[in-house]
Symmetry: C2
Subunit: 169 residues, 2 copies
């Protein structure tokens, strides 16, 4: 399990990409890349005294306008109390609007205000710029592989959330 040789009992295919060493390099690549991934928005957020949690909420509200609190909860994978604290500041600062559900009045539907959209745009422009550079460097085939591996790494439940967003509700 830790001898650097391929694992599994396959036949003659090259399974060298499944060695523990290769896997460890992948793990480290994820670690370092994720740092880069969040670095640009983090810088912007720090200036306005927000954190990553605010960014995530803004991102997904923008992505699925009108989403309910419960829906957002399951996407973000945090507790109601955690999300609520973030949401309260966002609503208080006039970035997010919370409207009573038209059909089920218990629900609150979340929307970005113009101000919220502006911040979302600033944040995602910064993040996209880095992604775009990385994508361009690596090329379309690498990007396809990148997406494929990431998708395979997700928990099944998160993969459902991901594909649902991707393919449009």
């Amino acid at each position: 399990m830790s001898d650097g040789r391929p694992t599994g009992g396959y036949g003659g295919e090259s399974l060298l990409f499944l060695t523990d060493e290769q896997l460890r390099q992948g793990i480290e690549a994820m670690f370092f890349a994720y740092r880069g991934f969040t670095a640009d928005p983090d810088r912007i957020l720090a200036e306005i005294a927000y954190g990553r949690a605010h960014h995530r909420a803004i991102h997904f509200i923008n992505r699925a306008p009108g989403t309910t609190v419960n829906n957002l909860l399951s996407i973000l994978g945090v507790t109601k109390q955690s999300l609520n604290r973030v949401l309260r500041t966002l609503v208080g600062d006039g970035l997010v609007e919370s409207r009573v559900g038209p059909v089920d009045k218990r629900e609150r539907h979340l929307y970005l205000t113009d101000k919220g959209k502006a911040l979302e745009s600033t944040l995602s422009d910064a993040q996209r710029a880095r992604m775009r550079a990385a994508y361009r460097d690596a090329g379309p085939e690498a990007v396809a592989g990148f997406r494929q591996v990431l998708e395979a790494m997700m928990d099944p439940e998160m993969r459902r959330a991901y594909t649902r967003l991707r393919d449009g509700s």
Copy 2:
């Protein structure tokens, strides 16, 4: 910049993989995948009252035995105070050994004890299992692309740390 069409002024190649929509999907894939990436070790760490910070320290001490505190600091990208708190518990719990530098006595060189190695093994087995499954599902070419994009996403300084580790100090 946000119209869904390709950006950049290239010629006739298909740049559809550089649309804002594609980039956003990549961003979301990173978000969901990173959750999966940390989920398994997080579960183990929660049982023993450690956190991700302990895992990271253990990982890199195992990876580069004898590393100094300053070196670890720059790899992990945290402050001395943050790392020190983690390191103190790890040394106190007998997982990490801190030896005075043989040549420069100001330095402390960090090593995992047998107990530390055992925990490292448990944690990385869990994380590798998921990586291995994802790699196997996606195949060697996808993995190559995955690595390529991740590397391109890193900050230059982190990329140096990454390749230095990968290619062996």
